[in-house]
Symmetry: C2
Subunit: 207 residues, 2 copies
Amino acid sequence: MKRVPEKSVERLLKYLELVKEKMSKGEHFVFSHELARHVGVSPVQVRRDLMDFEIEGTPQKGYPVKDFFSQVCGHVKCDLKTKLALIGVGNLGKAILSYFLKRRPNLEITAAFDSDIQKTDRIYCGCKVYHISELASVIKKEKISVGIITVPAEYAQETADMLVKAGIKGIVNFAPLMVRVPQDVFVDQIDITLSIEKTAYFAQKSK
Amino acid sequence: MKRVPEKSVERLLKYLELVKEKMSKGEHFVFSHELARHVGVSPVQVRRDLMDFEIEGTPQKGYPVKDFFSQVCGHVKCDLKTKLALIGVGNLGKAILSYFLKRRPNLEITAAFDSDIQKTDRIYCGCKVYHISELASVIKKEKISVGIITVPAEYAQETADMLVKAGIKGIVNFAPLMVRVPQDVFVDQIDITLSIEKTAYFAQKSK
């Protein structure tokens, strides 16, 4: 299968959420309109996505969840355990640590890092906080593959550089600054302030 | 000017960040390549966006920041104070409250709400936490225009419904569920788990 675009991966992961929920309730089928509603796309989009996976359903019963799960989950490797590192144990970093605690068995924040020695060599929400100088060695030892940046904007680029140097290929960046990374590193940007400002703009326009 | 698409508003708000930074340093001009780098788009895209605002620059000096600021800020109403309500004072909600405390003078979380009476009638990070039953009256009294949803997924839709009923026209939703709202209400979805899962997928692929 050809390289899947970012938006498709997002949809597949969201479809899986509903499919897992159905399976946990003992249900055997899911309709394209249910998937569409869950993800916020059209049923046509759902059917188009699923054609790529050769999952066959019927208009009466929908798609069989077991086939769906094995095909899509196999593709996005949803059962693979991912080890994460979080850099910057401030308010936002702490929130993400406590938010993720036992939330997803396959996503584990294995190590946190900070430059403030008041915060290091402690356990926070079940996660060891190391000094930033230990970043490369811990990432290599623990085989961590994804980094979460929750440092202030002025430190975001150097943090990204350190992560890349340590071999990280995926970064979720909460700092309100676009970080520059080599082409083979994937960065997802979550800019909370921008999102609120944008929403304020459209709320204003709608009045 | 015609209705500006969401992505353009995002870019304009990000351009303004850099422009304000330049102004605070006493600099008078900004180059399109600097704006492009800050936002993560091409200089061509920057110049195309700015043509719409009739801001004129030169290749030697760039764009005058003062003109830039007054034109773009006037358009996106960046100086207008927005009052926000946050619903769900759990880990994530608390983090957002502390994150926003004094961060942006024009974005103020005026009131927080929770259904747990252990959490209500208190001040958290300078913000009063009300019981959820007071939502409509406080939103109307305080003229709040944007709601931030940080409740668990199973309560997200009813929370959105309450916000809409109270007259809210913009919602930032952190719950991992697409909420359904009337057409004149803008929703921005921030799904942190999805973002991390997606990044894990691409990090894996890149190996």
